[in-house]
Structure formats: C-alpha cells, structure tokens
C-alpha cells in the first residue's frame, strides 16, 4: 500500500524546540493510540480506556493534550531531547514519526517494517535578540502550533488507511504492546539535522523503539 506522508513546518526559538515537538508528536500519538486490547475467548476483544492530560507549555503560549501515560511520555521526551541536543544552536532539522506494520517473513529473512503513515516535522531554529521579540515569538509560535494541530486533525479525520484490527497473535505486528496503559500503533521516531548551509550533511538515524531489524 502507499504510505502517506505529511510534513509540518515550524520556526521556533531554541528553547521552544522541545515543547513544540512534544506538542505535535503527542497530538499525533493521541489520535493513534488506543486502549489496551484484552482478547477474549471467542476471538473478540475489549479495549481499555485512554485518559488525557492537558499540558501547558512554559516557553510557548500553548496547551496541548496528550494521552495519560507516563511511560509513553518518557519515551517521547527522550527522543525529543536527543533531537534538541543534536540541533544545538540555530539550524534546521527534521524529526519524523513513522507508523509502521510488521510483516513476518519466513526465516531466515527478518521481518519487514512497512510504514503506512509518516509525519515529518521540519524545524527551523532562530535566535532572537531581545526580550520583546521573545515575547512576540511566544505568542506567534503558540498560534502556529494551533494551526499545526488543526492540520494534524484534518489529516487524521480523512480516515484513510488504517491497519486492520489484528487477531491476538498478530497484535504485535500492528500495535506497540509494551506499554501498560495505552497501546499506540507501532511507531518509530527518527531525526536528521541539516547544517546551516541547507545540505543534509549527516543523516543521523537513531532507533529509539525496539525494532526487529536490529536483531
């Protein structure tokens, strides 16, 4: 199938990178997470409940909603903080959230990861000269993030391809079942940094989620 790809671009100040990324990644994951599945005998399953938390940003005039799962939050924060460290200073970079499905292949071939949705968030970091500009930036970035959230919601509500609901044996090919309170679709986060010349000098791929290719 085709993988759909969405690109979001934001321009932020250095200290806003973390929160802006968290806001967008969590908004996407909110829509792509489900409650834990509990399979019952007849092949049916019931779904757990997903809670939500409002998070206020400190450096941006913005509040976003994320799923109420500390584990997931930790994973995302770790990824974003690595991205932020790699960005260090001004420059451009891109962080990608990819949802994929695993397709089991026969031995000795390893499983394939087939992405079905990729979100790329391009970040452009600027440095501001004085406090007044920073204040304006706070509000502007807040508005921009609001627009991005609306974009995300628009895409998701097209209700395009979603993996079929799996049987119990297949659930790990579709969902990430490692968390104890929510169950997002299988995803991985990668990033790359562009240097100030605009060329992609280093493509740094980091595996932050257990990936069977690493086996």
């Amino acid at each position: 199938m085709n993988c759909r790809s969405e690109v979001l671009e934001v321009t932020v100040e250095a200290r806003q990178v973390e929160e802006a990324m968290l806001a967008l990644l969590h908004t996407i994951l909110l829509h792509r997470s489900s409650g834990k599945f509990h399979y019952k005998k007849e092949g049916t399953y019931s779904i757990g409940t997903v809670g939500t938390i409002d998070i206020d940003c400190d450096f941006i005039d913005f509040t976003f909603v994320r799923v109420s799962s500390e584990e997931l939050d930790r994973v995302i924060r770790k990824a974003v903080s690595e991205f932020k460290d790699a960005l260090s200073g001004d420059g451009m970079g891109q962080i990608s959230l990819e949802f994929y499905q695993k397709k089991k292949s026969r031995w000795p071939f390893s499983d394939e990861c087939i992405p079905w949705e990729v979100w790329s968030i391009k970040v452009n970091v600027v440095n501001l000269a004085n406090e007044q500009e920073r204040q304006i930036c706070r509000e502007k970035v807040g508005e921009k993030l609001g627009e991005k959230v609306i974009n995300v919601v628009e895409v998701i509500n097209r209700h395009e391809y979603l993996p079929k609901m799996p049987t119990q044996s297949e659930v790990d090919n579709v969902f990430d079942t490692s968390l104890k309170d929510v169950q997002p679709y299988l995803y991985k986060i990668t990033y790359q940094i562009t240097d100030s010349l605009g060329t992609s000098v280093s493509t740094t791929m980091r595996r932050l989620i257990k990936d069977t290719l690493a086996l």
């Binding site: 829509h31 779904i47 809670g51 939500t52 409002d54 509040t63 609001g146």
Partner: protein, 548 residues
C-alpha cells in the same frame, strides 16, 4: 427509507450518536472551565467509558444536554449546538464560539456500525479534545475569574452564528460517515474580540424558549434571562449518580458578595452548595484572594457550583435577598450580622470594596470602628434599610462585625479621638493588637483582609460557617469626620493656585534656566575642583587600571 441497516445496528448507531453528543458537550464545557483536565488511563475496561476515552461526566452538563436534546438525536436540520460566551463583571456578554454537531444526508452504507463508526467517533472525540485547546476562547477561559466568566448554553435546532461578529472563522473538527448520514463537528469562533471598547453587545432574543435556569428556586430571586448561559466553572462531585444533581439546589446557603468598583455597583452572588454536596468543603484558601478592584467572586476558584444572576439591573433585588440569606444564616450561628450594602447606596458598596482592597494587614482596629452605634445595629439586625439620605452616614453604620465566636470586648472610640484620615488603619499599639483576634486571629496566618479574619475566627470549619462577612468601616478623605472641616470642592478651590516654589523663582530675566545653573556651578568653585582632579590624575588612572 430503509437504509439496509439491521435493527440491532440501528439501535447501536442511535445509542452511539446520542452518547457521542453528550460526550461532545462534556468535552467542550470541561475545556472551558478554566482548569487543566487530567484523567487516567485504565488498561482494564470498565465498560462505562464511552468511546474508550476517560471523559468525566459532569451531571449538570449532562442534564442540560439531555434537556436540550429532549429525546431527539442530531439529524438533518437539527443540530446540537454548544455556545460559549464571555460575560464581564459589568454584565456585558459576548459570544465567543459555537460548536455544532450536525448530521447531513451523505450516507456511507457499507460502513460497519459497531466497529468502524465507533472507533471513528472515538478518534473524533480525541480531535475535539485537541481542538478545544487551540481556539482563542481556551486562553480566555483559563484566565477567567477576575473580570469575566465563561458561560455555556446548549441548544438544539438551527445553528445561529450571528452573535459571533464579523469575520468569524470556522474550523472543522472532523466527520464520521454512518449509514444514516454523516456526523460533522465544527466550531465557529469569533475573531473580532474588540468589543470591550465599543460595548456593542447585543442581548439576543431567547432561543426556542428554553429557559436555561437550572436553579429552580434561586435564592436571589432573580430569574435569569433565557439566553444566559451557565457558568463554566462547575466541578463535578465524586458522586456518580446523576440524581444527586437535583439535590444540589436545595442546599445553597452561603452567599458571599463582592463588589465591583465601577459604578453602578453590581452584586454578583455566588452560591456554594452545602458541604455535604461537595466532595470537598469550600476551602478557605480561596478567600485569601485579595478583594481586588473589579469583580472577584472568590468562590469562583473554589466553589464549585456557582450561579451568576444578571448583575446589572436588579442589583437591588439581588443584594437584598442575599442580605436576607446572610442574616438568617448569621442568626443561626448567633453571630452578628450587619446588613450588607443596600443597593441604593451604589457608591457605598463600591467604596466598601475599595476599602477592603486597600486595607493593610492590621486593618483597622475594630475597636475604633465600633461605635456605640454598633450595639444598636446588633439589635436592629432585622432592619434592612439604612438611612439613604447620607451615604457617608450609612457607611459609618457599617461597623466591623466581629465573627461569631470571637470573644472581644468592644471599646467604643469616638470620632474625635481619630485625628487622621484613615486613622482607623494606622498601626495600633501592641496591646490592642494582641488582644484583637480580628487582626491576629488565633492559629492562623496573618490575614490580609478583615473578611478573612472573621472567617478564621469562626473556626475555619468550611463553607457552612461563612455566613458572616465583614464590612469594614473606613474614613475617606473629606468625609464628614475628617480633620479638615471642608469638603472636597472647597479644598480644591483653595489649593488650586499654590505659590511658586522658591527654587524655581530665580531671576528669570534674560537668562535661561540652564544658564542659571551653570552660573551657580561656577560660583561653587568648580574650577578649583577641576584643578585638584587634574593634579591627581595619575592616581586616578592607576585606580581605574586596578579595577579592570
């Protein structure tokens, strides 16, 4: 028309749409409460969380939504709308946004009801959660309390967007196709927020005759107009049965009144249900908020079921019965209740608030404020009207009331002994302060306002005890008992043309001021000073080098 849906599917679909509508309203109203929402994920399904999302159900909101729907479902031409509006302390109101849940004819026959539609409705609710934090009204609602409150109103039928002003924007939250139509959720929000300066608000006519007055027997006697919304500041109790909701109305007993400093004065009554109805008692911490100018309903932050009757007109009626309320409550506790501000003295109410705001910690010495007249006041509790003729006199009649359980002898001090305006607020000698529980209530932190002091002294037992409140007496400048026996006008006329300052009346002949100064400098032996500096220039240079 037979949509080919099995009866079970049809039933399920109707149920889904009904609960989706109710949950939509909950999400929207909760997003405008002004607080951050936090719910927990639960891996084991409880069976009661619709759409697999932990969305609390505020009983009042469910009740209103059900009332608006009146057993119907959103259908073609019948939309369910939640209107969010802002109401300032002056009584102006403005629609901020309208969320519409609509149904159109486009059917998706092949879709599976019990599975796909349900999941898509769940995703749509998540989108709603995200979008409600993005529209401009969210930030406004987080800051509500002091100058304005956010209200909601639910109606069913035709969508009305007239109140949103020009240039309103629409955002589509999402759509879900079903076999009987497509569910669409949108939000139209106002972009032109510049109404405060123009004061061009309109009170639109009642819609569909739905009276959104959920207090069956409002103690303040006022009937809210049909188009008035509900305040978005209710916190759900922890009780699960929605039936408790009806019970809340019977137990309103406390009325704390606060005043606006801008005339005409308005009284806004906030009522808290009795503690038994709240999962937690009204925390007194909430009353630590200073009585800032502008509308402060302290209980907005803590109280959890607030009722805002129309503030402007009918302030008289509002305060009056409120006074009754307080009086009665006060009597029960054997406390002293002096009549609160009577609205004919709009200025009085205003001044009292101002005073309370300006009152420093050791505000007043209640002894000073207790005139012999106070004893009379105690006896005349039932008397509601104070002498209207002289506002100042009636101000003096607002003595500082001691809390019910304070054991303090009253020492009347006549006006003559006060030789300063605001003398009442000058720090007093230690002996009076020590004995004065009003100023230093036992076992409680220093109170910035006498209101608190009296409440603390009542034993801090929670909302049931807050029926006394304190009126602070004060002496504005130029009031009758002031030192200078003149009124403001005379004072102004007399001191309107003060004599010139001596320093400014130098020989202003042909020389300019600057010249004058320079001349003076030179006269002050500046050249000599310069010579000294030049002589020691090496020393100074060495010093500067040392510093670097």
């Amino acid at each position: 028309m037979d949509s080919g849906l099995s009866p079970q599917d049809k039933k399920d679909l109707d149920k889904f749409i009904k609960f989706f509508a109710l949950k939509t309203v909950q999400v929207i109203v909760q997003a405008r409460l002004g607080e951050k929402i936090c719910t927990r994920s639960s891996s084991s399904p409880t069976g009661s969380d619709w759409f697999n999302l932990a969305i609390k159900d505020i009983p009042e909101v469910t009740h209103e939504a059900k009332k608006a729907l009146a057993g119907q479902l959103p259908g073609i031409g019948r939309s369910m709308c939640v209107e969010i509006s802002l109401k300032t302390s002056e009584g102006d109101s403005m629609e901020l946004e309208t969320w519409c849940l609509e149904m159109n004819e486009k059917c998706d026959k092949d879709i599976k009801v019990s599975y796909t539609v349900y999941n898509r409705l769940s995703v749509l609710l998540k989108s709603l959660l995200a979008i409600t934090r993005v529209t401009p009204a969210y930030k406004l609602s987080r800051k509500q309390g002091h100058d304005y409150v956010i209200l909601y109103r639910i109606y069913f039928g035709e969508v009305q967007l007239n109140g949103l002003g020009e240039g309103f924007q629409t955002v589509r939250v999402g759509v879900v196709g079903t076999p009987v139509g497509t569910v669409t959720l949108t939000c139209a929000y106002r972009t032109n927020l510049a109404f405060m300066s123009n004061r061009q608000f309109e009170r639109s006519a009642p819609i569909m005759g739905i009276i959104v007055d959920h207090f069956v027997d409002p103690p303040c006697g006022g009937q809210r107009p049909a188009n008035m919304g509900h305040p978005c500041n209710y916190r759900a109790t922890d009780e699960d049965d929605g039936g408790q909701y009806a019970g809340c109305q019977d137990s309103q007993e406390v009325c704390t009144t606060s005043f606006s400093t801008s005339p005409p004065s308005q009284c806004v009554c906030t009522l808290s249900p009795s503690p038994s109805k709240l999962s937690k008692p009204l925390p007194l911490d909430s009353l630590l908020l200073p009585l800032a100018p502008g509308l402060v309903t302290h209980t907005l932050y803590a109280s959890r079921l607030s009722y805002h009757p129309p503030a402007l007109a009918g302030a008289a009626e509002l305060c009056h019965p409120a006074a009754n309320q307080v009086l009665h409550a006060g009597k029960e506790h054997g406390g002293v209740v002096s009549g609160p501000a009577q609205p004919p003295h709009g200025a009085d109410a205003q001044l009292t608030a101002e005073n309370a705001a300006n009152t420093p910690g050791s505000s007043g010495d209640d002894a000073g404020l207790m005139h012999s007249g106070e004893r009379r006041k105690r006896r005349d509790e039932g008397r509601r009207s104070l002498s209207p003729a002289d506002p100042v006199e009636s101000l003096n009649a607002f003595t500082r009331k001691i809390g019910a359980f304070v054991n303090k002898p009253s020492t009347p001090i006549t006006a003559a002994s006060l030789d300063l305006p605001f003398a009442a607020f000058a720090p007093r000698g230690l002996d009076t302060e020590d004995n004065d529980p009003m100023v230093q209530p036992p076992d409680s932190p220093p109170c910035p306002s006498p209101l608190q002091a009296s409440l603390h002294s009542q034993g801090s037992e929670g909302s049931g005890q807050q029926d006394d409140f304190v009126m602070v007496d004060f002496r504005p400048a130029f009031s009758k008992d002031d030192l200078l026996p003149m009124d403001l006008g005379t004072f102004y006329r007399e001191f309107q043309n003060p004599p010139q300052l001596a320093s400014l009346s130098l020989h202003i002949s042909s020389q300019s001021m600057a010249d004058d100064l320079v001349t003076q400098l030179f006269k002050d032996s500046l050249p000599e000073k310069l010579a000294v500096y030049e002589k020691n220039i090496d020393e100074f240079d060495a010093f500067v080098d040392m510093l670097q």
